[in-house]
Symmetry: C2
Subunit: 246 residues, 2 copies
């Protein structure tokens, strides 16, 4: 049986201000929880309607599906919900490709981009402070455990970029150079912009190269690619060269 | 004021069986409706809380936001909802790149893939009969008007593929050839599989080439790319050659 205060605490973690004040976030679903258990993330407690994850009682509370429904952030609750501590972000490594997000707001897009960073071996993801929180339950759900393998920091993007004068800064803009013809460096900062407004003016001023994904449709009617699919194509372009050389 | 029978009809169109029996589907939001008005789709009626789209009263009914909320399929209703006729699909053209979907179930994924086809100039999208319906309100929403520019058909996928013996059939599979090294033909059938199970056995038997997107992360832990992001990367690979030649 869950106490009222437990339910209140866990429910509150769907809001960023309570995640930050408690330093906690939730992971739902057996598979996702297993990935976090196998990572450096520190477990606080698991509420499960069956699966025990090989854990002792200290960390595990078996509850029924009715109680699980009370604390879940999902329409269809999964069989377990875990509370983990939000870790201190590691220093951003200064090598390789660094992906930065300038005001990405949609949790599904951020989750997909985290998964893409993981797939394409991008270790560092730097988000502007107005980008959606990566411990938002929807982001955790969409990132499918990749959150345990990508180092994510929230910083003032202009300060971060200005502090790396040795790295070229590439951003996607409609009038940019055809990405298929562009010479893409191995070490760089790639900036992806907000869903509606693209990259902010302050950051545009810091770009050393503007690139674009050409459109092949008959007429220029299609607005733009979704930021997550554009990130997929760009990361693929950054990596394909090294894949062919092998 | 909306009548009860109007509300009932419109609400019913969120279900596939009623869309099919009435031959109607809904589009929400001023921008989306404008795109459909500028296409070959045939308008039945618009319910709007302000915008009149330059239309005569025959097609337009001005209603208040409370009534709009009653007929909307969205959590936050937009300022207008339109009912259009489902058109008869055109014959699938036999040239160029044809994208086929084998059991894609998520409306957001199908919407994104339709947008990608539009961007990359793929005119024909062939879906297996168990793929989510493209007139599902969430698909219409996610496709952002690209639905008006891509010809979509629901067919028995194995019969369709078998009827095009002259076209190579490419499918994404984990053990496939590195797509960055593969020779991709201009005219082909590209098969994308179900979110959980990939391409079905029946269709695997029909593939002439298996391709894969290599993983660059440290360990092979990341499960797989989402089908929409994988489609983005593959369509980019199919088109980049012609873009460089220009």
């Amino acid at each position: 049986m869950l106490s009222k205060s437990q339910i209140k605490l866990i429910k509150s973690l769907s809001q960023k201000k309570y995640r930050n004040s408690h330093g906690l976030f939730i992971v739902e679903g057996i598979k996702g929880i297993r990935e976090f258990l196998n990572s450096e993330f520190e477990l606080v407690s698991i509420y499960s309607s069956g699966e025990n994850f090989g854990l002792k009682d200290d960390y595990l509370e078996l509850i029924d599906d009715r109680d699980l429904k009370k604390i879940s952030s999902l329409k269809t609750p999964q069989k377990a919900l875990a509370v983990f501590k939000i870790p201190n972000p590691k220093q951003v490594g200064q090598k390789g490709l660094i992906v930065t997000l300038d005001g990405v707001r949609d949790p599904g897009n951020l989750g997909t981009i985290i998964r893409l960073c993981d797939w394409f071996g991008v270790e560092n993801l730097v988000c502007s402070r107005d980008t959606v929180d990566c411990y938002n339950p929807k982001v955790v759900q969409a990132s499918m455990g990749s959150l345990t393998r990508v180092n994510i920091q929230y910083l003032d993007l202009d300060e971060f970029i200005s502090a790396q004068p040795e790295l070229p800064v590439l951003g996607t803009m409609l009038e940019g150079e055809n990405v298929y013809k562009a010479n893409l460096p191995d070490a760089a900062i790639l900036v992806m912009g907000n869903e509606a407004n693209g990259i902010s003016d302050k950051i545009i001023d810091l770009l050393s190269k503007k690139i674009s994904i050409p459109q092949f449709g008959r007429i220029q009617e299609t607005e733009s690619l979704n930021v997550a699919t554009a990130t997929a194509i760009l990361l693929s372009e950054f990596r394909r060269g090294s894949s062919i050389e092998k």
